[in-house]
C-alpha cells in the first residue's frame, strides 16, 4: 500500500522533470485502440460506486455482476444465476428460486444460497443505508431453503417480481460486517460473478475490465474492455472522431455529425425514457380535468420531436411505451388537435379574455412550469409546450431550477419530469400514478387520484395470468386517457456512435432511463465475436 502511494507521488515528479525536455515525438497512430481482443468505449458518466446495493446497474446488464435473472433482447426474463425463472406460489406471495451450480466469484470463492440471502438481507437492513430500499419494499423475508435454493416472501402479491431479481449478487463476505455501505471498500473494488472482472479503475479517467475466463456462460471473447470517462460531450465527440474510441453515447445532434462518415455507424435505440409535463392537482388551473385534457390535445408532440430531438423520439400519451407490445393501448393515445383542445376549454368554462388569455370565474389560465435548469432537452420541451399552450390561450411561466428548489414546490407548480423502464408496465406506472403514492417523495408528485386508475393498477400488479394483466393495463390507459394526470410528450431515443472495429453480435434493444456503456449497443457485449 505504501509503495503504491509513493509511486503515485513520485511518478508525476519524474514526469515533470522530463516533460519539458521531451520533444514532441511522433504519437502512436490514431486507431491504436481496438487491436487484438480489446474494445475501448467512452462514457459520459462515471459511477461513484460499483456496489449493486448502492445503486450500481439497478436495471441489470452490469458487466461485473449477475442477477438471479436477466433480460433477453425481447426484454423477456431469462434465468441467470437462477436455473429457471421463478414462479409465484398459489397465493402470489412467495417465490422459490433454484440456483445454478458451479458458479464462482471473481476471487475464486463459490457462489451459493448464502450469497443471495446476504445480498438481499443487507439491502433491506436499514443499517446499510442503501438508497434502494423503496424499490424492494415488497420483500418481507428472504430465507435459505438449502444450499441451492432461496425463498422470497412478499408483503403483497406482486406479479412483476421476477424483473426485480436483476439485482447483482455480491459475495456474503463483502457484506458480512453490516453497517453503512458507503464507507465499504467494495464500492471501488467490486467482486461479482459477471462476465467481466474489474482490473483497474483510475477514478476520473478510465476503468479496465477483463474477460472472466471461468464465466459460467462462456468466457467473453472481448478480452479487455476499457471504459474511458469523458464527461464533456464535445471533447468526447472529438476523441471519437480521432479514432481513440470504438464507441460512445452522444446527444442526437452531435451523433448526427457522424452520419455517413466512413468507418462509423450511427445507432439509435428506442427507449422507455419518457418526458412528461407533471400537473399538480392542488393548482387551481392544472387541477381542472378539462384543462389537462385540453393541453393533451394542444401539444404538438411530433413537431417537438422533429424540431428539438432531430427526429429521435416517439410521441407519448401515457407512461406505457409502444414497445411493451400488447400492454400498450392504441385507443388511449392523444393526437394533435388544437380545435378539439379549444372546444374542451370552452365547454369547461375557460373563456377567452380580451388579452388573449382564458379565465374561469375570475381565475386566469396561468401557471408556472419548472424544469431542471441543467437539462437542455427538458428546457427545450418546456418552451415548445409553452408556445403550444399559448396558442390555446393558456399562459405558462417557465422557471429553470435545481432539484433542491423544485422538490418543495411540486405540489403547486407543474414540472418537466422524466423516467421509465421498458420491462414491465407496473414499474413505470404504479408509483407515478397510484393515489397511495401521492406526494410521496418524487412519486405521484401531483397527488393524482383516480379510483378507476387505482383499481386497474392494483389488478395489473396482483393478477397471476398474463392475459388478465394485459387487460388491466389497457383498462388503466383508457381510464387515464379520459382523465389524464399529466401531459406526456415523448419517449426519447438514445443515440450512439460505433466505429467499425471488427466485432459482431450487436443486437438492438430498448433502453431504460439509464444509458451509458452498460446499456445501449453494448448490453450483450459478452456475446460479441470477432468478425473474421
Amino acid at each position: 500500500m505504501l509503495t503504491t502511494s509513493w509511486r503515485a507521488v513520485l511518478l508525476p515528479v519524474i514526469v515533470a522533470l522530463t516533460v519539458l525536455g521531451t520533444a514532441c515525438s511522433a504519437p502512436t497512430a490514431p486507431g491504436a485502440a481496438g487491436d487484438g481482443a480489446e474494445l475501448v468505449l467512452a462514457d459520459a458518466y462515471e459511477d461513484e460506486s460499483l456496489h449493486p446495493l448502492m445503486g450500481y446497474a439497478t436495471d441489470g446488464a452490469s458487466k461485473i455482476f449477475d442477477g438471479l435473472i436477466r433480460h433477453d433482447a425481447q426484454r423477456v426474463v431469462q434465468p441467470a444465476l437462477a436455473t429457471e425463472v421463478p414462479e409465484a406460489s398459489a397465493d402470489g406471495r412467495s417465490y422459490t428460486v433454484a440456483l445454478r451450480d458451479e458458479v464462482s466469484f471473481h476471487d475464486g470463492s463459490s457462489f451459493g444460497a448464502e450469497d443471495v440471502v446476504a445480498t438481499y438481507r443487507t439491502l433491506l437492513d436499514p443499517e446499510s443505508v442503501s438508497p434502494l430500499t423503496t424499490e424492494y419494499a415488497m420483500i418481507s423475508k428472504v430465507e435459505q431453503v438449502d444450499d441451492r435454493t432461496v425463498r422470497f416472501d412478499l408483503a403483497f402479491p406482486y406479479a412483476p417480481f421476477p424483473h426485480k431479481l436483476v439485482l447483482g449478487i455480491v459475495p456474503s463476505e463483502a457484506v458480512a460486517g453490516g453497517g453503512p455501505l458507503e464507507g465499504s471498500s467494495f464500492n471501488s473494488a467490486p467482486i461479482g460473478t459477471g462476465p467481466f472482472r474489474l482490473a483497474e479503475w483510475r477514478k476520473g479517467e478510465r476503468m479496465i475490465l477483463e474477460s472472466n475466463e471461468s464465466y459460467w456462460d462462456g468466457a467473453p471473447e472481448v478480452e479487455r474492455l476499457i471504459v474511458v470517462f469523458a464527461t464533456d460531450d464535445n471533447t468526447r465527440a472529438q476523441r471519437m472522431r480521432s479514432g481513440e474510441f470504438d464507441g460512445t453515447v452522444l446527444p442526437p445532434a452531435l451523433a448526427e455529425t457522424f452520419r455517413g462518415v466512413d468507418g462509423y455507424r450511427l445507432i439509435s435505440h428506442k427507449s422507455a425514457d419518457y418526458r412528461t409535463i407533471m400537473m399538480p392537482m392542488n393548482n387551481p388551473v392544472t387541477g381542472d380535468p378539462g384543462m389537462r385534457l385540453a393541453l393533451n390535445y394542444a401539444a404538438n408532440r411530433q413537431g417537438m420531436i422533429d424540431a428539438l430531438l432531430a427526429g429521435h423520439g416517439a410521441p407519448a400519451s401515457n407512461p406505457i411505451p409502444e414497445v411493451l407490445g400488447d400492454y400498450a393501448e392504441p385507443s388511449a393515445q392523444f393526437r394533435h388537435d388544437p380545435a378539439r383542445a379549444a372546444q374542451i376549454l370552452d365547454e369547461s368554462g375557460w373563456v377567452m379574455g380580451p388579452d388573449g388569455t382564458r379565465a374561469r370565474e375570475g381565475v386566469p389560465a396561468r401557471f408556472t412550469l419548472m424544469y431542471p435548469a441543467s437539462d437542455t432537452v427538458r428546457k427545450d420541451l418546456a418552451q415548445a409546450f409553452t408556445s403550444d399552450a399559448r396558442a390555446l390561450g393558456v399562459d405558462i411561466e417557465l422557471e429553470g431550477l435545481g432539484w433542491e428548489a423544485i422538490e418543495p414546490r411540486m405540489g403547486g407548480d407543474a414540472l418537466v419530469l422524466g423516467g421509465g423502464t421498458p420491462f414491465d408496465p407496473d414499474l413505470v406506472s404504479y408509483q407515478l400514478l397510484h393515489s397511495s403514492f401521492a406526494a410521496d417523495g418524487f412519486n405521484n408528485p401531483g397527488s393524482y387520484s383516480n379510483p378507476q386508475v387505482d383499481a386497474a393498477l392494483d389488478t395489473g400488479r396482483q393478477a397471476d395470468q398474463p392475459a388478465d394483466r394485459v387487460a388491466a393495463y389497457q383498462q388503466f390507459q383508457r381510464a387515464y386517457a379520459a382523465d389524464p394526470a399529466m401531459v406526456f410528450l415523448t419517449f426519447l431515443e438514445h443515440t450512439y456512435v460505433l466505429r467499425d472495429s471488427g466485432w459482431q453480435g450487436y443486437r438492438p434493444i430498448v433502453d431504460p432511463h439509464a444509458h451509458g456503456v452498460n446499456w445501449g449497443p453494448w448490453w450483450n457485449l459478452q456475446d460479441w465475436k470477432p468478425t473474421s
Binding site: P12, A16, L20, P27, V129, G419, F442
Partner: protein, 331 residues
C-alpha cells in the same frame, strides 16, 4: 553589507515564523467559512446519494437515510465532527466519491500538482521572454501582435482555448493525443504521461500568461525610463546588458510578488482544463464535491488551496526580501 547579512537572515526567518503562526487561525477561519458556505448553498447531498433512485424512493425512506447520514445535523455539529476527526489524523470519507478523503488526495493531487506546476512554468516562461522582447522593441510589429494576442486570450475562457487546441493539434495535425492521462489502454509511464501532459499544461500556461506578460512588459517599460538605466546607457553599456542586467531586475520584483497571488487563478483554470482533458486530478473532483456538499472532501481541498496561497505569498515575499535589501520584512 557583511555586517547587515546575519540580521537580514534573522529578519527573513522571523517573517516566515510569523506568517506560519498566522496561518493557523487563517486555516481555521477559512474551513469554518467553507462549512458555512456549504450550509448556505442550495445543494442537497441527498440527490447525489440517491442518484436517479431519488425519483422512486418513498418520502419515509429518504427521511430515514437523511437522519442516518447526519444530513439534518446543524452545520456546527458537522464542522465539529470533521475538525475532531482531523485532529486525530482522519480526513474522513468523501461521500461524493465514495472513498476515504486521504485516498482521493493521494490518487489525484499529484496529477493536479504536475499539471499546475508545468502550466505555471510555461506561463512564467512565456511572460518573461515575450514581456522582455515586447518592452524592448516597444511599438514594433512583434509588440503589436503579442499585445493584441495577449489581450484577446485574456478574454477567452480556458475551456474554449482547450477545445481549439484539441481541434488544431490533436485532430487537425495529429501531433498530440486529445485527452486522458495515457492512451486508453496504456499503462502509466513517463513517456505516455509526458505526451498527454503537453496540451493541457500548455493550454493552462497560455491561458494564465497574458496577465503576467502584460505586467512584465509594463513594469519593464517603467524601469527602462528610470535614472539608473539612463545612467547605464550613458556609460556606453551594450543594449542587452542594459535591459537584462539593469532594467529587468527592478522590473522583476513586483512580478515575483504577483506570482504568489496568482495561485487561486491557477486553480480555477485547472478545474476547467482538467474537465475538458479528462485529467484525473483533484480539481475536477472539486466540482462534484461542491454539488454534493461533500464537506470532508471540500474542507480538505479548501485547506490545501489556502495553504498553497499562503505558502505562495510567503515564498514570494521571501524571494523579494532576498532580491531587494530595501524590502521591509513586516515586523
Amino acid at each position: 553589507m557583511t555586517v547587515g547579512a546575519p540580521s537580514r537572515k534573522r529578519a527573513i526567518l522571523g517573517l516566515a515564523g510569523r506568517r506560519l503562526a498566522f496561518a493557523v487561525p487563517v486555516l481555521v477561519i477559512v474551513s469554518a467559512a467553507m462549512f458555512a458556505l456549504g450550509a448556505a448553498s442550495p445543494f442537497d447531498p441527498i440527490y447525489q446519494y440517491y442518484g436517479v433512485g431519488v425519483f422512486t424512493a418513498s418520502a419515509a425512506d429518504i427521511a430515514r437515510v437523511r437522519a442516518q447520514l447526519g444530513l439534518d445535523d446543524s452545520v456546527v455539529v458537522q464542522f465539529g465532527r470533521w475538525a475532531g476527526d482531523l485532529l486525530t489524523g482522519d480526513l474522513g470519507d468523501s461521500r461524493s466519491l465514495r472513498q476515504p478523503v486521504a485516498e482521493v488526495i493521494t490518487e489525484r493531487l499529484p496529477w493536479t500538482l504536475l499539471l499546475v506546476s508545468v502550466g505555471l512554468g510555461i506561463a512564467v516562461l512565456v511572460a518573461l521572454v515575450l514581456g522582455v522582447v515586447t518592452a524592448w522593441r516597444q511599438g514594433g510589429w512583434l509588440d503589436r501582435i503579442v499585445t493584441a494576442l495577449a489581450q484577446a486570450i485574456e478574454g477567452i475562457p480556458a475551456f474554449v482555448l482547450a477545445l481549439g487546441a484539441i481541434a488544431l493539434f490533436a485532430l487537425g495535425l495529429g501531433w498530440l493525443p486529445v485527452a486522458g492521462l495515457t492512451d486508453a489502454g496504456g499503462d502509466v509511464s513517463v513517456g505516455q504521461v509526458a505526451r498527454h501532459l503537453v496540451l493541457p499544461a500548455t493550454v493552462l500556461g497560455v491561458s494564465q500568461s497574458p496577465w503576467l506578460l502584460l505586467h512584465v512588459r509594463q513594469s519593464l517599460l517603467g524601469a527602462l525610463a528610470e535614472d539608473h538605466v539612463t545612467g547605464a546607457r550613458a556609460r556606453g553599456l551594450t543594449e542587452p546588458a542594459v535591459v537584462l542586467r539593469h532594467a529587468l531586475p527592478t522590473a522583476l520584483l513586483p512580478f515575483v510578488t504577483l506570482l504568489g497571488a496568482r495561485v487561486p487563478e491557477l486553480v480555477t483554470g485547472a478545474v476547467l482544463v482538467e474537465v475538458v482533458f479528462s485529467w484525473p486530478g483533484v480539481a475536477a473532483a472539486i466540482v462534484q464535491a461542491a454539488l454534493a456538499v461533500d464537506y470532508p472532501l471540500l474542507a480538505t481541498l479548501t485547506l490545501f488551496a489556502t495553504a498553497a496561497v499562503l505558502l505562495g505569498s510567503l515564498l514570494a515575499d521571501v524571494a523579494a526580501a532576498l532580491l531587494d535589501p530595501r524590502v521591509a520584512t513586516d515586523g
